[in-house]
């Protein structure tokens, strides 16, 4: 088929940030390809990027603003899933309602009664404006997003150790790795295109791959060494590797002396952390720990890549610190092919954080409690700004229950699929006084809203995304939005102008300038105007312009000047914190451990074919290939319980229960059950635990106690009359 036009854009799914070519005919995307000559993917895509974009034309897209017919009362808020529960409204009416209600809450309970979720799928420009709206107009720092639920443990650990939390090295370096460790990352399913480069490093360039994972992911097939530890015992394993490196004198003395601090205290803490001690805790043979330590330490350059297995834990910060300790003692930082690389999940989770979608920082991690920084933003934004950091997403839930939080603004997120302990989160949502959601579809969360604002999808708007290796790339409008849906940045700007208009007339107006100046500032004509304001406030992005992105395709920040080439790998000279700091870490766990009542460990994660809460992929061709939740159980456990693949089982924890079918597979170790979290009809997070890492505030999605019992097909469950293994490509990948 001949295209009317071919539009270059960036993939809306994972953090690799693959470049796409969208072929359009009659205002419909009919083909997705990738440019062969462009970083980071060089022509490669995965199933989601190439075949998953059809969600943008799904008939269930939101096309007009919706207002709940029945006014919701705190404590009695319900989910509105019927067609008669909502009525369509004009933008004028819907945005006036939102402005009125938000400002009313603000006046009655103060600005900190309102919180917002930014969106790791929206553009940098969308997110910049949402945090500006909250800080400048509402007057609160209560803004956070789902990064809290994925890499918060990595971020807090990396900040403590080196003062920077982004991936330190670029995707382009991967093919030329010498030695690398993949930890708690199902890379071939969660970052499939990155996985292709990692596999090539092993098979074509002879790199040594060490995989650390309780689960048998595809990456283990390519590994020289697979350390299969008990879930939650990471710190013991990495401390023992550090012990070996010190005892065998394999550490990098020059690097330790020149670039780090706290080494001697740290070494003392390792004295009793022998490989034999770790073997007893982790189940990994002591000699394998020694081999891994020697491989990593003696390589000329070695890198670490990790995912949720490290971060999503009550001790996610500690897990990360044991990794930073290893990299610092071996000097595997600041050179090509080295580094500490948390693989970011969402396509713009890096960018959402960079754009200030966090409760403690403005753009590029400039702290809200630094007076000089705050004054700079106050000058541009023409309003006094709050200096106290706001609530994290995990704290927002509790904030609602204590009465501090009354109003909620959710842009493009689905917390009632992604929060842990969903019933608890749902109970909190029911207490809200006002709830506005902005999205492209109905989801499990926004059905509780008072107003839903219909947004443009990635294929319908201009802007920028920042991928996992800090590369800022363009997103370009290829097709028109359905109905009267608008880009997020436009919706927020319109709302902001309405709020300013109201506040400007009231005695409580807190702006430092006449309201007209603010309205003029909020009248952006294009996403590039928003970027211009953002880069002027952000030294790390100052050298990146739309014109330059047009020319170069993408630029890695930090990029302080227009002449600066961008920074593919960080820390060549020094760390943002000066010297890298060693942190002694003791083994221990606050996670809910299995016991007599709940004898299995539950671990959650993803399958290749779906995206997170399923909002985008359950309404695309992807759903046909993996249409239901599968409960993965080890063959020995299944045999003991008399269960087989395809049996319906009820899985329950102290927090709730779900029903799904069993997939017997050796992928998970004995005693551990794995389920993906994409399926609302069997939502994994009904079961998970909402206790958090004290420092990172990240919940524990990888370890909690569950029990399992034979069950029957729930009434009306789609596909229940078909054999599990006849549905799509569902099969046991270990045996198959």
């Amino acid at each position: 088929m001949k295209a009317d036009k071919v539009v270059r854009s960036t993939c809306p799914f994972c953090g690799v940030g693959c470049q796409l070519l969208l072929s359009v005919r009659d205002e419909r995307i009919f083909r997705v390809e990738a440019p062969f000559d462009a970083a980071p993917n060089f022509g490669r895509l995965c199933v989601k990027g190439r075949f998953g974009a059809d969600f943008v034309v799904h008939p269930s897209r939101l096309t007009a603003p919706l207002i709940r017919r029945e006014r919701q009362q705190p404590g009695k808020r319900t989910a509105a899933t019927g067609p008669d529960d909502w009525r369509e409204a004009t933008w004028d009416e819907a945005l006036d309602v939102v402005a009125e209600r938000l400002l009313d809450l603000c006046a009655r309970y103060g600005p900190d009664s309102i919180t917002a979720n930014a969106c790791a799928k929206a553009t940098n420009e969308d997110n910049y404006l949402l945090q500006k709206f909250l800080r400048q107009i509402i007057g609160t720092n209560n803004i956070d997003h789902c990064a809290r639920l994925c890499h918060a443990g990595s971020v807090s650990g990396l900040q403590l150790a080196i003062g920077s939390s982004a991936m330190s090295n670029s995707i382009a370096e991967m093919e030329h790795l010498e030695c690398f460790i993949v930890i708690g990352s199902n890379t071939a399913e969660t970052h499939p295109v990155i996985a292709t480069f990692l596999k090539q490093a092993v098979h074509q360039n002879g790199a040594t791959l060490i995989v650390v994972d309780p689960r048998q992911t595809e990456m283990t097939r390519h590994a020289d060494l697979w350390l299969r530890h008990q879930p939650g015992t990471d710190t013991a394993l990495f401390n023992a590797m550090a012990h070996v490196i010190v005892k065998e004198d394999l550490y990098n003395r020059a690097f330790v002396a020149a670039r780090t601090e706290g080494f001697s205290q740290y070494v003392e803490s390792l004295e009793d952390k022998t490989p034999e001690w770790a073997e007893a805790i982790t189940g990994v043979p002591a000699d394998d720990i020694r081999r891994a330590a020697r491989s990593y330490a003696t390589a000329g350059a070695a890198a670490m890549y990790w995912g949720m297995g490290i971060s999503q834990s009550t001790h996610g910060t500690d897990n990360t610190l044991t990794l930073t300790n290893l990299a610092l003692m071996c000097g595997h930082l600041g050179r090509p092919g080295t580094g500490l690389n948390p693989l970011r999940g969402q396509n713009n989770v890096q960018g959402c954080s960079d754009a200030g979608g966090l409760p403690n920082v403005y753009t590029a991690y400039q702290p809200v409690d630094d007076d000089d920084v705050r004054h700079k933003f106050e000058e541009t934004w023409l309003a006094p700004l709050p200096g106290k950091p706001g609530l994290t997403v995990t704290e927002m839930v509790d904030g609602i229950l204590t009465g501090q939080v009354r109003g909620w603004y959710v842009m493009g997120e689905n917390p009632l699929m992604s929060e842990p302990n969903l019933r608890h989160a749902q109970h909190a949502v029911e207490q809200l006084e006002f709830f506005v959601a902005q999205d492209i579809f109905f989801n499990e969360t926004n059905v509780y809203a008072d107003v839903i604002l219909p947004a443009a999808s990635f294929a319908e708007k201009d802007g920028t995304f920042t991928n996992s290796d800090r590369r800022v790339q363009r997103c370009r409008a290829a097709v028109p939005s359905p109905g009267i849906a608008r880009p997020d940045w436009e919706i927020i700007s319109d709302l902001a102008r309405r709020c300013v208009g109201r506040l400007g007339k009231s005695p409580s107006a807190h702006f430092t300038q006449n309201a007209d100046h603010l309205i003029e500032q909020w009248s952006y004509a294009h996403a590039s105007d928003v970027w211009e304001e953002m880069r002027a406030l952000t030294p790390d992005f100052y050298g990146i312009t739309y014109e330059r992105l047009e020319r170069e395709g993408g630029v890695h920040w930090p990029c302080p000047t227009p002449e600066h080439p961008g920074t593919p790998y960080l820390f060549a000279e020094e760390f943002p914190s000066g010297r890298g700091k060693f942190w002694p870490v003791d083994y221990g766990s606050d996670s809910e451990q299995p016991d007599e009542d709940y004898p299995f460990i539950l671990s959650t994660g993803r399958v290749l074919y779906h995206w997170h809460g399923g909002t985008m992929t359950r309404v695309s061709a992807l759903d046909a290939i993996w249409p239901e939740c599968t409960v993965e159980m080890h063959p020995n456990d299944a045999a003991r319980l008399g269960l087989e693949t395809g049996d319906w089982v009820e899985l329950s924890s102290r927090r709730g229960a779900i029903t799904a079918r069993l997939l017997v597979t050796g992928r998970s170790p004995e005693g551990t059950i794995f389920i993906p979290f994409h399926f609302a009809e069997a939502a994994a997070n009904v079961l998970t635990d909402n206790r958090v890492d004290e420092r990172a505030k990240i919940p524990d999605y990888k370890v909690c106690g569950v029990r399992i019992a034979r069950s029957t097909a729930p009434a009306g469950r789609a596909g229940a009359d078909t054999l599990l293994t006849d549905r799509g490509t569902i099969k046991d990948p270990v045996v198959a």
Binding site: V47, H176, L622, I625
Partner: protein
Amino acid sequence: MPTESNTPTIAITLNGQTVHAPAGSTILDAARRAGVDIPTICYHPNLTANAVCRLCTVEVVGSRTLQPACVVPARQDMIVNTETERVNAARRVILELLASTVDLHEAPEIQDYMVRFGVDAARFAGGEQREFPVMDDNPFYVRDYSQCVMCWRCIQVCAEDVQFTFALTWGGRGIDSHVATFFAEDMPDTSCVFCGNCVGVCPTGALKGKVEFDLEQER
């Protein structure tokens, strides 16, 4: 990665002109650097070259047979001619044989070559056609091997050139040989992960996304 500045270069004579290229370049690399267009079908710059289609065939002085430029290294003082009558005759026959056996209506680059080399598409007409039923066995892409020129790109991206999935192989012998899955299983029952990187490198309409396929059927 070695930079160009510290890589030794060699010189060859290409169509009478002296051209320079980094040591280790193929004749095709050297020609493209010099702006000389050698036609290719199976060759793809991101993949391993296999010299399957032979359209890139060139004459190397001193060689008995024509040489496939995509895999033959350029050597110091080599004399290469890319557009001799012998070369063009070989290319015409390759294209005429393809046209007689394969449905090329969705292969615009090959059609352009047929014009460029003055091909008589009907020269070998009436012989055996490669005909296969359209395979529509998964939600993402459709396989029509009647349009397949057997360039090998799809098998390679599925294997060590990109994906390490190994879902594809050769099936059949002689005129019946074709790209296949192991044991001719439907795609959802193979190791396929539906990345579609095979679709991305297909030079004809043999592999096509299902959205595009369905929209064409509706038209």
